[in-house]
């Protein structure tokens, strides 16, 4: 057992650090959060820079333009870019981390050649059309219908929680093609061009105000059969394959940032005034923060364990399921503690009362989604109990 990186890994880190240092210097300031056109431009520009420097598609195979990096190099890449406060993956999230990997595993050669290079270069943006108003945790019960009409599917239905739909070129869309079959057996995976007639996009205002999420309404939208990935009615299996790309690094950026923020909170608490002294004088604040930091440190260690397992076996093992649950729960506690420390400085999104307050407050709202998105904590516990512990489904 060893936590030291190899010389090759350290060389990769050093090279990346020096590239980040020079590249981040002349990066323009990030756009306003509601300026979607500008955010697309900013995020895809960053993706293009990664691409040109050889850092795009880090874990993608070389045959599709990726770097075929090892899990530990992925870990280092995410750690260093987050630490350097490089731009977040942003609008490229679905393309680079979800739709792209799915296409690599399941799409035809023509489809791969058509779509993958433009994802890597930041030329095209993808969104996700999975969840529906009546299909959340029970995703397989989705009802958006696709009926074959010659060389096309005619799609009708409604999708929700489509990240970045307002700026996307394509949508990875799950549709029901066999309403008679068992629910998992009648689903098909389609590539939906977002400029197709019949698509209406309504942004969703979340608790944090405006967001990257949208509802997408589909009325007689015609999708070429050539845009189907895999076989008709095989879409559920294909969505599961996507997860096999995970190498235990899904929460690296979140963890690096959470550990930074925990430290920011310790710094800020010393400046947060109380009747006597500061919030840092409150032993219950320090103890709760110590607990949260111990958990975040443990999750960081567990991440390294999962990455090590992925290096050995190709798969990160059960620990990766646990990280999602434990991290999102720990992050809620950090958010609650932030508000306790901020006290009345939390009453407005502003640094005027206490410098650093704005970021902590934004983070408190953003992270409310962590225990819900991509599998609620309750669903995660079911999955761990059934798949790891072997408890019966019924």
């Amino acid at each position: 057992m060893d936590l030291r990186y190899t010389d090759a890994d350290e060389a990769f880190r050093a090279e990346l650090r020096s590239w980040l240092e020079s590249t981040l210097q002349d990066l323009p300031a990030p756009p306003a959060r509601d300026d979607w056109a500008e955010r697309r431009r900013y995020d895809t520009d960053w993706q293009r820079r990664l691409h040109d420097a050889g850092y795009a598609g880090l874990n993608w195979p070389e045959r599709v333009g990726g770097r075929a990096a090892s899990p530990s190099e992925q870990l280092i890449f995410l750690e260093e870019t987050t630490r350097a406060r490089a731009p977040y993956v942003g609008v490229n999230f679905v393309g680079t981390l979800h739709a792209g990997p799915t296409l690599i595993a399941e799409a035809s050669e023509e489809q791969q050649e058509r779509y993958l290079p433009s994802i890597l270069r930041g030329d095209e943006v993808w969104c996700q059309g999975f969840s529906e108003p009546t299909a959340g945790s029970d995703l397989a019960s989705l009802r958006t219908k696709a009926v074959r009409d010659g060389d096309e599917y005619v799609v009708n239905g409604q999708k929700i929680w489509c990240s970045f739909a307002q700026v996307a070129d394509f949508c990875e869309l799950l549709v029901r093609t066999d309403p008679e079959a068992k629910k998992q057996a009648g689903i098909t995976w389609l590539i939906l061009p977002m400029d197709s007639p019949g698509i209406e996009i309504r942004p969703i205002d979340t608790v944090a105000g405006s967001s990257e999420f949208a509802e997408v309404f589909l009325g007689d939208v015609r999708v070429p059969v050539a845009n189907r990935v895999g076989d008709e009615n095989d879409g559920w299996r294909i969505t599961q394959v996507t997860f096999s790309f995970e190498r235990g690094t899904a929460f690296v950026s979140e963890l690096v940032d959470a550990r930074r923020l925990a430290n920011e909170l310790a710094v800020l608490a010393r400046r947060a005034p109380r009747m006597e002294g500061s919030a840092w004088d409150d032993a219950t604040v320090r103890r709760e923060l110590g607990h949260i930091v111990a958990e975040l440190d443990a999750l960081w260690a567990l991440t390294k364990r999962n990455v090590s397992q992925a290096e050995r076996t190709g798969s990160p093992g059960p620990g990766s399921m646990m990280i999602k649950l434990a991290y999102s729960e720990a992050r809620q506690r950090l958010g609650e503690l932030s508000l306790r420390v901020l006290d009345r400085a939390a009453l407005a999104f502003s640094d005027d009362l206490l410098s650093g307050a704005d970021e902590l407050l934004e983070e408190r709202l953003r992270t409310l989604a962590l225990t819900i998105a991509a599998g609620t904590s309750q669903i995660q516990r079911n999955i761990i109990a059934e798949r790891v512990l072997g408890l019966p489904r019924k």
């Binding site: 057992m1 060893d2 936590l3 030291r4 990186y5 190899t6 890994d9 530990s72 930074r260 925990a262 430290n263 920011e264 310790a266 710094v267 010393r270 032993a283 320090r286 103890r287 709760e288 923060l289 110590g290 607990h291 930091v293 111990a294 958990e295 440190d297 443990a298 999750l299 260690a301 567990l302 390294k304 364990r305 990455v307 090590s308 397992q309 290096e311 050995r312 059960p318 620990g319 646990m322 649950l325 434990a326 309750q378 995660q380 516990r381 079911n382 761990i384 109990a385 059934e386 790891v388 512990l389 072997g390 408890l391 019966p392 489904r393 019924k394």
Partner: protein, 326 residues
């Protein structure tokens, strides 16, 4: 970086697990209640011969020259089996108290305590007592300690004695900070083993116990308790292994923060998982017959040594920088 057990470490783990399954089954563990100090000296020698206390000693001294993380792997198994006795003290003192390494001398210990009166575990079963003070670690002879055994210890397998005053003793060549640090990690490893055993015990019972014509493990409320228990084990174990590696290789990062975090999480995991197992066992969990209470009581006991979960949380917070990180 390879933060998984090596083949040697797996062999070490499997070897000690096999030994414990054969020689320290739960019946034998329970029988320790009737032995002086609850120390099974015959089996203790066997643990010594197997190298449990000498793992980290140089080969020249009869040791295996292994690291703290290897010792942690072994101590997790000892905890899973709930082996009674001052195992951690004996390991920590193995290099400085003759006979501790091979198990012929049983070393107990006591840290500085608040208040006038001192409580000492296993006093009737030990040959030497290590007293960790702020300046030094001293060796005391148990015969020189005037003590009153307390009739009803919380943990039946951890007898305790009340001592009015401790002699000064003779200094040992062991730094107090090192004894506390290594002791905290090994105790945390032992607690991880206990947490693991309790999580497993809850799963086994949830699979076999039926109510409303279904195994209770099919109910989401039970699943969620047991999923949380499993997560606590994985996190605490990763934390303990990381802490042990930090101790042996301080360039990895903040050793104090890693050690404190590990004892904090392991202590919490052991207590919470024993509570979970007790709850899942329902009425049976409240009986003397079922082993769960022995684990819960031990977890409570071990939260009072080498720093409590609360103290270690405070220590982690104290390690946070007072300046924004670069």
């Amino acid at each position: 970086m390879d933060f998984e057990l090596s083949a040697d470490q797996e062999a070490l783990r499997d070897g000690i697990a096999e030994l414990l399954a054969g020689r320290f089954g739960i019946e034998r563990v329970r029988a320790c209640e009737n032995l002086p100090g609850a120390v099974d000296r015959e089996r203790w020698r066997e643990l010594g011969e197997a190298g449990v206390f000498a793992l980290r000693l140089p080969e020249a001294d009869g040791g295996l020259d292994l690291g703290l993380v290897d010792a942690a792997v072994v101590f997790e198994e000892l905890g899973a089996a709930l082996v009674p006795g001052p195992l951690v003290w004996s390991e920590v003192c193995a290099g400085v108290v003759g006979g501790a390494a091979d198990g012929s001398t049983v070393v107990g210990g006591v840290s500085a305590q608040v208040g006038d009166r001192v409580v000492i575990e296993h006093l009737g079963g030990i040959d030497a007592l290590a007293r960790v003070g702020s300046e030094r670690v001293a060796r005391l002879e148990p015969g020189d300690v005037t003590a009153e055994p307390l009739a009803r210890p919380l943990d039946p397998l951890t007898p305790v004695s009340l001592v009015e005053a401790l002699p000064e003793g003779d200094p040992l060549a062991l730094a107090p900070a090192r004894a506390r640090r290594d002791g905290a990690v090994l105790c945390a490893a032992y607690l991880v083993g206990m947490a693991r055993a309790m999580a497993a015990s809850g799963v086994v019972y949830a699979l076999e116990r039926e109510q409303f014509d279904r195994p209770i493990g099919s109910f989401q409320s039970i699943k969620h308790l047991l999923a949380d228990a499993a997560v606590r084990v994985e996190m605490a174990r990763a934390s303990v292994h990381a802490a042990a590696l930090h101790v042996d290789d301080p360039e990895l990062g903040d050793v104090r923060r890693a050690v404190a975090g590990s004892k904090h999480l392991a202590g919490e995991a052991a207590i919470a998982n024993a509570r979970t197992a007790l709850q899942v066992h329902g009425g049976m969990g409240f009986t003397w017959e079922v082993d769960v209470h022995l684990y819960l009581k031990r977890a409570w006991v071990l939260d009072t040594v080498f720093g409590s979960a609360d103290e270690h949380a405070d220590a982690v917070a104290a390690c946070l920088s007072s300046f924004p990180l670069a």
